[in-house]
Amino acid sequence: MPVRMGIFLCDCGGSLKNIDFPKVRENLENLEDIAFVDITHNLCLEEGEKAITSRILTENINRVVIAACSPEFRERNFGELLEKLRLNPGLLSLANIREQCSWAHEGDVTRKALELIMMAVGKARLLQPVERKEVAVNNEVLVVGGGFCGMKSSLELSQLGIRTTLVEREPTLGGKLKKLEGFYSSQIEAMIKAIEKAENIEILTSAEVTGVEGKIGDFKVRMRGTKEILRSFGAIVFATGYKTEVAAGDFPLKPGVNIISQERLVQLLQAPTLEARPETIGFIFDLSDENPRFPTLATLNNALAVKQRWGSEVYVFCKNVKVDSEGVEKLYREAREDGVMFLKFDKNPKISADDGRVKIDAEDTLLGEEIVLTCDLVVAEEKLLPAEGTEGLSSLLKIRTDSQGFYQEENVHLYPVSSERKGIFFVGNCRGDLDLGRVLADISSVVAKVYELLPPGKVIVEAERVKADPQKCVACLTCIRVCPHRAVQLVQVDSEKVVAEISQLACDKCGICAAICPAKAIKFEGYSDDQILAQIEAIGVS
């Protein structure tokens, strides 16, 4: 069908005085495939909408060019208007003659305005409609990790009516926090009961994820338990947690009977009887500045517990008290009021053995004096690290981790819980050093995101916005390797041929694949090579 184009020029209420609109119109009307060129005043308002509507309904055009203000706000609105008028929004091309032309330069800008419009016209000639279609997606979710985070995520998903499978590599659910008395363990017990009762949560214990293929709406996950399992899920939420390591490198003495971890301290605190109550306990943390939230919270909570349960003398040695989480400043003040002594150092203290006890030699920066303290028990700094298996899993998923090895690249667009692969999410401490408030925000965020991307029923996608031509594709795998969103797969088209197929649901429309394809087999409608070259060629031809 031959191109028949309608052009609308908006003069923004007549205010774009440095553009000679009649001259622009004159130049455009001379072109072959232009049906009309209208000068209007307020395309963004109702009267503008009416002007566009009446023209499109009476003229038989199949391309629309609008020269007005920035497409940043207008693209969607004009597109929706066209759709209402039964014209595919993909046939619309915009020229920014206001913010990036009239307003940006002194003097007459008629020539530039005409060129920008010619660029849009050149592109419009080559535009093709992009249809939308409904696709059925699997909206079952896999939650990997049966600790606090994983369990809470499963429960919240299930409450929104989403079928969930919870996979845990240990034989039981509960994770690390199960061992903590009080608030956490009671919460966890309650959650385990609720999960067992829930009809739409399936539990798989003693099982691990060994492979993930596919894309959002259709992830094929291989798991190994007592046998091999192959299942399909719409989205995957990783809540694989963390591990702690006593900061052995910074301690000249090995952890032992008198130098213990926070976990060991909690065990002692929870023990029904205690052989010898330690009179003096020292906590040391913040030797490095990495991942301080976790050790700060553990120290404050445990220091208070020691005071309350044993009444020992408690000293906390740290460089800076890390209070940047909700409620921590108050906890810090409470600890001080309860008699916990905080000593701040600028230089790391010296730790040595002293006749069965531990001697800490530190320079207290507030007093400006050297303090030598001999403790019965020293609780060492623990580093928060990615859980065992994170590196393996991330390369399995082909997902980048941050500089410390935690999930999720340090890219602000991914926060809070997304990854570069649509449909794969990370919640909790597996993605870094969070406190409980932030972990809970993670959990509800991921539930919202899953619900948004995989609503009940069908999902509407653009059918072929970015497409690899099976005739030209030679299956070199470049696009598959290069796609940052892992949205491309190889599919079999007949008995002999495999070609690349781009999932419209997973594609984030960056065009990196289209640029890199050596065979130029990938067409990105709206930003194809011809459509870009047409804009280049239109410059200067006036």
């Binding site: 920035s70 307003w103 660029m119 930003y527 870009i532």
Partner: protein, 133 residues
């Protein structure tokens, strides 16, 4: 074309910054022509070379700051392609400085203006050098 500056602008960063510049009423050389792209990584070497072939004075790719690209590697790939174009141009005896990659964020209109003005100054200097020969 006749000495225009072609700028491929990522819609998330440079294109948005250029809009802000216009709204602030700040000006830059009229010879700039912006081509909007969804990501700097969409820009291919052929696009840059074609623009120069058509007579552009300079071709720029403007993308997100290092570490900010929504598509993780788009700005990195664009930089590699610009560098490669530079070497191609130098090999055939054309000033490699006529292509360039720059990074900015959507809320940095001043950086946009600084980049365009600096490129324009370099173009004028090259013209002066050519004239004096």
């Amino acid at each position: 074309m006749n000495g225009e500056i072609i700028a491929f602008c990522c819609e998330h960063s440079a294109y948005a910054a250029a809009d802000v510049v216009g709204k602030q009423g700040l000006h830059y050389p009229e010879k700039l022509r912006v081509i909007r792209v969804p990501c700097a990584g969409r820009v291919d070497i052929i696009h840059m070379l074609k623009a120069l072939e058509e007579g552009a004075a300079a071709v720029l790719v403007l993308g997100c700051e290092d570490g900010l690209c929504q598509h993780l590697t788009g700005n990195v790939r664009a930089k590699e392609r610009v560098k490669y174009s530079e070497t191609l141009l130098t090999e055939v005896g054309i000033d490699g400085g006529r292509v360039g990659m720059f990074n900015l964020a959507a809320n940095a209109p001043h950086k946009f203006i600084k980049i365009i003005n600096e490129v324009n100054d370099r173009i004028k200097e090259r013209e002066r050098e050519n004239d004096s020969r």
